[in-house]
């Protein structure tokens, strides 16, 4: 304990210098705007800012880039709630209930709650990093390919179960997502699949293209075709709205607590974890809700939980990046690259060899999350003004931003066409009353599941029992089976009872 305090003292020394504070603020400030405006994604923004950090001391550089990263994640939720524009997989989850709240005139509540959820999630995750980094990193190392594959099967089953109404429809959506995820080069054998000879498809489709099409474009199309173009109940924002109503707060707090736990745990798994965190929290909230039918119609737990989870995972995902040198995604790879340019190679010894860097960053997370809170609560009033823009002006602007945003991901004009295709597809599945969220999760997890499952089989020389021989993997698989039983048995029993009453 005294160790922890001593370490945090080192961190405060490094993060409370004027220089560090200024770069932390600049980072979260820039990040927020990058996140809110769907034009430039965080990856493009951090790539552009990278050379700036060559001239900074390493601690300031890292604090700045990390600030942009989690600032953009936070800002992404704002665009998702107000305009149904998800720039990341996590905000695709937020936009389901968040935008439903906005339509019902509760955008102010949704935005205040995401800000609070994001703050709590971030702060708790910082404690997790500060207290348990080395053991958690060791745990992450113990997760072999079989464990990852089993975890993903569990995630996919949970995704099918979490869609409302028909499990069959949810399963169908997950399967569609899996198939779309297969487009491109397969990692294990290097063969190209479903690319139709187009080199633009060789690396598969980007999650930004898929999410923007399925949510952003389809929303615009639905609005225009339904004749009630952008009918959103205006919500006003007064200063006292910063303190949420008791009912909203009590409903959210438990969701935030659960989301934070889920996100902190999943964040330590490189790659898979942060992507799964908000989906996992959403499906847990839905399973626990007294009235699951509210989900999709603007349930505040469906916004607060995933937001807390997402931000917690964003922070704890620095554990594998810094202590193992394993970047979970392209943004983390860039941040790692920035450190290497400074001659710091993150790895098992980074906490001993560069304590001021490690602890300085962790303390800066705290400060940065506080800055986000202070910065964004007053900004909510400004963001809400977006909703009072007449829809005939707003919708072409949204379309333009989607096109720029999608193009900026890999400067590929074909992506702009692809996003349109997915927009039409999104309208279609909306008309069929199918849920796009399981599709997104299938898309993310499908290729990872294949990669890990095949690798596990390579290691076991083709022996499929590897998945049940390893205890952790077996646990995940049993949980998946349990979830199937839990969700299907009550329905089957109800059917049987109905059939009985009908015959008698």
């Amino acid at each position: 304990m005294s160790d922890l305090l001593a370490n945090l003292a080192i961190g405060f020394d490094a993060a409370l210098t004027w220089e560090a504070l200024v770069y932390c603020f600049a980072g979260v400030f820039l990040g927020t705007f990058i996140g809110v405006l769907p034009g430039i994604g965080p990856l493009a923004a951090i790539a552009m800012l990278l050379p700036v950090t060559f001239h900074l001391p390493p601690v300031a550089a890292l604090i700045f880039l990390a600030g942009v990263y989690y600032g953009a994640l936070y800002g992404g939720s704002t665009a998702a709630i107000l305009l149904r524009l998800p720039g990341t997989a996590a905000s695709a989850v937020i936009c389901v209930d968040g935008h439903a709240m906005a339509r019902a005139g509760r955008a102010n509540v949704a935005l205040v709650m995401t800000t609070i959820a994001s703050f709590i999630g971030g702060c708790v995750a910082v404690l997790v990093i500060a207290g348990f980094s080395p053991p958690l990193a060791r745990f992450a190392l113990g997760m072999g390919p079989a464990e990852y594959a089993a975890l993903m099967i569990f995630g996919l089953v949970a995704a099918s179960a979490m869609s409302d109404g028909s499990i069959l429809k949810g399963f169908g959506m997950v399967l569609t997502g899996l198939l779309i995820g297969l487009v491109g080069m397969d990692v294990t054998a290097g063969t190209l699949r479903y690319t139709f000879g187009l080199s633009h498809l060789a690396d598969g489709l980007s999650i930004v293209v898929l999410a923007m099409g399925l949510f952003g474009i389809s929303e615009v199309l639905n609005n225009l075709t339904s004749g009630q173009a952008g009918k959103i109940v205006k919500s006003r924002f007064r200063l006292r709205d910063i303190i949420p109503e008791r009912r909203d707060l009590t409903m959210s707090l438990a969701a935030i607590a659960r989301g934070t736990g889920i996100g902190s745990a999943l964040g330590i798994l490189p790659g898979a974890g942060p992507a799964m965190s908000s989906f996992a929290s959403y499906s847990v909230e839905k399973q626990l809700a007294r009235d699951p039918s509210r989900f999709g119609q603007g349930a505040i737990e469906g916004v607060a939980g995933p937001e807390a989870s997402n931000n917690a995972a964003a922070q704890t995902s620095f554990i594998p990046t810094l202590t193992l040198g394993i970047p979970g995604d392209a943004i983390m790879a860039l941040i790692l690259g920035a450190l290497m340019i400074h001659g710091i190679a993150p790895g098992p010894n980074v906490m001993n060899s560069h304590p001021e860097l490690f602890w300085g960053l962790i303390v800066s997370f705290w400060i940065g999350n506080l800055m986000l809170l202070v910065l964004n609560l007053p900004l909510i009033g400004i963001w809400l003004k977006i909703l009072s823009i007449p829809y005939r002006i707003l919708f072409p602007t949204i379309m333009l931003f989607i096109c720029i945003g999608v193009y900026s991901v890999s400067r590929n004009p074909a992506d702009v066409i692809t996003v349109g295709v997915f927009g039409i597809f999104g309208t279609l599945i909306y008309a069929l009353r199918c849920d796009a969220v399981p599709l997104i999760l299938g898309f993310i997890l499908g290729p990872m599941l294949e990669e890990y499952a095949r690798r596990a089989l390579l290691f076991s020389r083709g022996d499929p029992f590897v998945f049940i021989e390893r205890p952790l993997s077996l646990t995940f698989l049993l949980c998946a089976v349990g979830l199937v039983v839990l969700t299907t048995v009550p329905r089957v029993l109800r059917r049987m009872r109905e059939a009985k009453t009908n015959t008698s």
Partner: protein
């Protein structure tokens, strides 16, 4: 009359255009130069490009902007440059993949010798041959014995089919006459967890990625792949020193231009790149990512790329590595 006027106008226009060509070359560059990195941001190519593009722009008097065009193992960006104007305003910063991909990918629609023109070499990154602490081999000879004693059971990791990590191992197996099973990952760092826990037994890794784990004792460094030892690991011998004198491998990076880009422009760019690579600040940044700067002439760069192309074409054909 009208025809005469047209002829005079034509002549006048022609005479104005004639001296314009050398003058244009002398005033190059007049606008922003785009340096295409054929991978998404964050990879070694990209980090290297971002370490030199600022000073290179200062040197040339025009900004050099990084243009990430990832896809198909670098082929999307390369084909984009091949199809660009050969005016010196679109350049390619590619790794050794530029010499390998045309043979490796059945779908690649270019040839690095005919469709691209060499500009300058940038850097070479030595790889290090590492094994987990649990593998009973402390040098290359012991590792070769170990692999021979366990036929068909030893595997090696890589950053993906056709990456430099994969190719370094392929060349090693070719030179030492060995068989190992290939386990591909998405990038160098992703192999580390399974390597540290001993599920992957052999990896040719970038030094900067492996170094922290070598220092912590989780991995054993058996040899570096280049001709000379690395400053980062001075006590580790080269593979060539360890009984395989024919083995040499370095992941290299070069700047290229579309075929037809004038020699003057390429010469000017070559000098600018080389002077940037001599700057102490740039050298320091490159050292951080484990890259040794190479200041070669246009001719040397071109000869080297052509030789690499031929080497890999033969090895890919004989090992049947083509990706379709």
């Amino acid at each position: 009359m009208k025809r005469l006027l047209t002829a005079i106008a034509f002549l006048a226009a022609a005479s104005m255009m004639m001296p314009a060509t050398p003058a244009q070359a002398a005033s190059y560059p007049e606008e922003t130069i785009f340096m295409v990195v054929p991978y998404p941001p964050g990879g070694p190519n990209d980090i290297l490009a971002r370490a030199i593009n600022g000073p290179l722009g200062d040197q040339l008097g025009q900004p050099v902007v990084i243009d990430n065009r990832g896809g198909a193992g670098g082929n999307v960006g390369t084909e984009y440059v091949v199809a660009s104007e050969s005016d010196g305003y679109t350049l390619l910063l590619h790794g050794m993949g530029v010499s390998v991909n045309a043979s490796l990918y059945a779908q690649a629609r270019y040839n690095p010798i005919d469709d691209l023109a060499p500009v300058a070499m940038v850097a070479e990154t030595p790889l290090v041959l590492v094994v987990p602490a649990s593998v009973e081999a402390d040098d290359v000879a012991e590792l070769i014995d170990y692999i021979r004693e366990h036929p068909g059971q030893v595997n090696f990791g890589s950053g993906g089919a056709g990456t430099s990590l994969h190719l370094a191992a392929v060349r090693f197996m070719d030179v030492a006459d060995l068989e190992m099973e290939h386990i591909p990952y998405q990038g160098n760092a992703m192999v580390i967890p399974d390597l540290v826990t001993g599920q992957v037994e052999v990896l040719f890794s970038s030094i900067s990625t492996a170094l922290p784990h070598i220092e912590s004792g989780d991995l054993k460094a058996l040899a570096v792949t280049t001709r000379s030892r690395s400053d980062a690991l001075p006590d580790v011998p080269t593979v060539a020193e360890s009984g395989l004198p024919d083995y040499e491998f370095g992941a290299w990076y070069a700047v290229l231009a579309p075929a037809g880009t004038s020699e003057d422009i390429r010469q000017q760019l070559n000098e600018a790149v080389n002077s940037v690579l001599d700057m102490p600040a740039v050298r320091e940044n490159l050292a951080g990512i484990g890259a040794n700067p190479l200041t070669w002439s246009v001719q040397e760069t071109g000869d080297f790329i052509a030789a690499e192309y031929e080497d890999w074409r033969q090895l890919i054909e004989s090992e049947n590595l083509t990706i379709d």
